[in-house]
Symmetry: C2
Subunit: 200 residues, 2 copies
């Protein structure tokens, strides 16, 4: 039995890498097919178009996050503990998908309409997180404030600390590809989110 | 007397727009010159190369931030008040330079080495902010923690809330081009940064 992934999965994997490295416009169908070792018609055959391939890459990349946020948000634990788990899940997901910050940054910077999988992920994860924050406000553990803005400020920690990784390495000498440094950054983010949200 | 900016400044302005909208590779010298209404040799004449033009755009865009952070960091006021001013300066600078989040996101996502003006700005602004945080830790107003990581978590607020603007508008219905919404987001960011840093 072959352990080599099939052509469709190879296209998804290669396209993700090239979209992250060169952007949507910079990654040509020709290059994607050449690197995936499939013929030039494979993108059309499996996906219909480059745009649909891009959507499929985003869905594969972002789909699991919403599910993980949902599981953490619904756990029978105090709100701040659930939020801590959600922050850890973001770091863990980005660690397993190192192309994610680049692809998301390019998506945010593009002049195009926000892609459907990004809208779906944010449209599901943010209200879930805001819901946990509102619960914490009801039980008195979380300070007052717009739950949706507080959710955005929470997500800002894992997103920025990963997005700015290379700049942080150059400027602050913190190389998160080193396991101990990565863990230190995660613990810092968790403490910061707790401090930002907790009632005093 | 003409109020029309000179060719060099027109090139900087047009290049900034095109680099933000299409990225470094996507913005051709031909397009930049055509839109700036200068002949095709003008980039070489004024800057030497497209790469130097890009550096000049970044310097014009980022140079003023470091100066503003420095002024705020050195004001004779309590540390948390100075940090509040720095957060407000970031929002204000991005408001006056709406292309900044796109250009910075593309810069972070690019596989290239971090551009010199980005390194310079972060290399100057982050230690200044970390210094104010360390002062606050000494006088007991700011909680313990690595001052540089706390500085990064502080900057994360204005950066992410602006970078994710379009997604936030679509998902949360918060349109920051509306003045009242913009002010609400700034006040939220200031409160969140204070809560994240303050000793309890």
């Amino acid at each position: 039995m072959s352990t080599r992934p099939d052509a469709k999965q190879r296209l998804l994997t290669v396209a993700r890498e090239l979209f992250a490295r060169r952007g949507y416009d910079g990654a040509s169908v020709r290059d994607i097919c050449a690197r995936a070792k499939v013929n030039l018609g494979a993108v059309t055959y499996y996906f219909g178009s480059k745009a649909v391939l891009y959507t499929a890459v985003l869905t594969e990349l972002l789909g699991p996050i919403a599910a993980r946020v949902q599981a953490a948000a619904q756990a029978p634990r105090p709100p701040l503990d659930r939020i801590e788990t959600i922050v850890r899940e973001f770091f863990e997901h980005i660690r397993r998908n190192p192309d994610m910050p680049c692809i998301m940054a390019r998506e945010m910077a593009s002049g195009r309409e926000i892609a459907a999988p990004v809208k779906q992920m944010m449209g599901r994860a943010l209200p879930l997180l805001a819901g946990v924050i509102a619960e914490g406000q009801s039980d008195g553990s979380i300070r007052p404030g717009d739950p949706l803005l507080l959710a955005l400020s929470t997500v800002a920690q894992p997103v920025y600390l990963n997005l700015a990784r290379r700049a942080i390495t150059v400027v602050a000498g913190l190389d998160q590809s080193d396991e101990a440094t990565f863990q230190r950054v995660v613990e810092h983010a968790v403490e910061t989110v707790r401090a930002a949200l907790e009632t005093r």
